[in-house]
Amino acid sequence: LAAIVRRTVIYTAAILFAAVLIHRFHWLGGPYFQLPGTIQDHVWPTRFLSADAITLSRRAEPLLPRGATVTILAPSEAPHYDQTHWLTGLGLLPRQHVVPQKMTGPPETLPQYVIAIADPFPDPRYRLQARFPEGFLYARVP
């Protein structure tokens, strides 16, 4: 009898955990049977800016010179930018020099390129270089 009780407890728990797992996958949103663009696409029902940071890094990479200083930021968060965005660039732009989002100081100390997530980056020291579905690439005005 004890063995039957044990099996019943385990099978019930397994069915319950599988059911809540499927429910969670559904709650995280679709598409459900399509390979996502980034590893962050479905970690939450609303899209994380980090997913856009990954996509934008990939899109901007061919346009960036080797060794150029670059940062990634979401203009809507100014002046307290999310540090994880430029840190994400550290891994995705290995041929460039990805730097923190320090946007104050003499022009020559600013990053040569800014990847702006979602919104435009209206800074007179930068000019728009490329527009992507997820954001923008700016280059520092010489």
């Binding site: 004890a2 009780v5 044990r6 099996r7 407890v9 385990i10 099978y11 728990a13 397994a14 319950l16 955990f17 599988a18 809540v20 797992l21 499927i22 969670r24 996958f25 995280l28 459900y32 399509q34 390979l35 996502p36 980034t38 590893i39 962050q40 696409d41 479905h42 970690v43 980090s50 940071a53 990954i54 540090q83 994880t84 840190l87 994400t88 550290l90 891994g91 995705l92 290995p94 923190p100």
Partner: protein, 418 residues
């Protein structure tokens, strides 16, 4: 192509560690367990080799790492081939429970689905683990210069997982992000293989599979260090719990503890919990020393590197004051996270099974579960306001005591050896 090569690099780990099959106490284990143990051994070998190359000033490259890899595989395979006499398997399964095995397969498929559709990706991979591995690869080795300028708290974090990521990056030429997260389910398969092979309990393994499948979805471990850490911990706990051969217990607990120490900060507290359990529950001083020595040696080597290069940061947390006033908040917040959105069922189910079974047979994993849970609380009371920290990290940290508890539930129903 990058991710295919990256995945192949992860899949090479069991082949790289195949030499461990030569160890007499590993040879009689079922094939699935031997593959999982070889995966752990391969992980440690790769990490130690890459670290040693850096210390010797040998720059990493695809050619050099593949040459070393081939050397390990050839040497390991030769060792195993030369000592291939038939050994009776220690498998204790009475006959497969097909329903449970089907259930395990469903849990694994769900985890694979969740990972491949980016529903379980670790948030720390794109901005911590991944970039650090990429920077090491660009620097050609485990470069203290990269760590000295590292903009995060994890400068002195144990290097095994980052080195494995750097290994896959070197093999694939670019960082294989998808392969990095798919390593999560791969290590989960190995973890379940160890539990099933050592316990011979398909229904118990189903409980572990279902519990981990669900808690993985909330803990987001894919791409982070928890999946390998859980494999290493499982090898140690299951060896001490289910194996009758004293040499196998000692060897595999030592391997698991050493790998854990080199993987995560929490791996050190796990190793201490294992050693204390061997002393207090098994009352075996000799085994405790033998298990502690390799882990302590790896810890000492890493700390020597950290001190020599002035990188001490996170380990310094042990010197922080304890905020006893934060204890109620820590317990309340941890309790909320530990409920895993299912009223704490991942904990309650194994506790019920232990209560219905034989508690004494579960003493070893229960002790490890209690000690690692206690260590988790101890960590968090070092901050006056730890709520954010607990909410962001504890879903993953709690997987260790939870898994130990599930293994205790399996052990409590283990039939005594005839």
């Amino acid at each position: 192509m990058t991710d295919v090569l990256g995945l192949l690099a992860w899949l090479l780990l069991p082949a790289i560690g195949i030499g461990v099959w030569r160890v007499s106490c590993v040879r009689p284990l079922p094939l699935t367990a031997r593959l999982a143990i070889a995966m752990a051994a391969g992980s440690l070998l790769v990490a130690l080799t890459m670290a040693a190359m850096s210390l010797l000033g040998i720059e990493w490259s695809r050619g050099k790492l593949l040459a070393v890899t081939i050397l390990f595989i050839a040497a390991g395979a030769t060792l195993v081939y030369r000592h291939r006499e038939h050994v009776a398997s220690v498998a204790v399964t009475a006959g497969p429970d097909r329903v449970a095995i089907a259930g395990i397969a469903v849990c694994l498929l769900l985890t694979f689905y969740g990972t491949i559709t980016a529903r379980e990706s670790c948030g720390d991979l794109p901005f911590t683990w991944g970039p650090k591995a990429v920077r090491w690869v660009r620097a050609g080795g485990l470069d203290p210069g990269v760590l000295r300028t590292w903009p995060q708290l994890t400068v002195d974090y144990p290097p095994l997982h980052t080195l494995l990521l750097a290994f896959t990056n070197t093999v694939a030429s670019r960082f294989p992000w998808w392969a990095a997260i798919l390593a999560g389910p791969l290590f989960l398969v190995a973890t379940l293989a160890v539990i099933r092979a050592f316990s011979g309990d398909d229904a118990g393994t189903l409980l572990a599979a279902a519990t981990l499948a669900w808690t993985f979805a909330l803990a987001y471990p894919a791409g982070c260090a928890e999946p390998p850490l859980l494999l290493f911990e499982t090898i140690a706990i299951c060896a001490l719990t289910f194996l009758d051969d004293p040499r196998a217990q000692t060897f595999l607990a030592a391997l698991g503890a050493a790998c854990a120490v080199f993987t995560k900060l929490e791996g050190t507290t796990f190793a201490i919990a294992v050693v204390l359990t061997i002393l207090l529950v098994q009352r075996n001083l000799r085994r405790a020393v033998l298990v502690a020595v390799p882990a302590a040696a790896l810890f000492a080597a890493w700390m020597a590197f950290v001190f020599r290069n002035d990188l001490l940061y996170m380990y310094r947390g042990a010197r922080l004051p304890i905020y006893w006033s934060a204890l109620p908040v820590v317990i309340k917040t941890l309790g909320k996270v530990a409920a895993f959105q299912t009223w704490g069922l991942p904990w309650l189910v194994p506790l019920v099974l232990i209560a219905l079974g034989n508690v004494r047979r579960a003493a070893v994993p229960l002790s490890i579960a209690a000690l690692t849970l206690g260590a988790t609380v101890y960590f968090y009371i070092h901050y006056p306001d730890p709520v954010w920290w607990i909410e962001s990290s504890s879903p993953r940290v709690l997987l260790t005591p939870l898994l130990a508890l599930v293994i205790a539930a399996i052990a409590s129903w283990r039939k005594p050896a005839i």
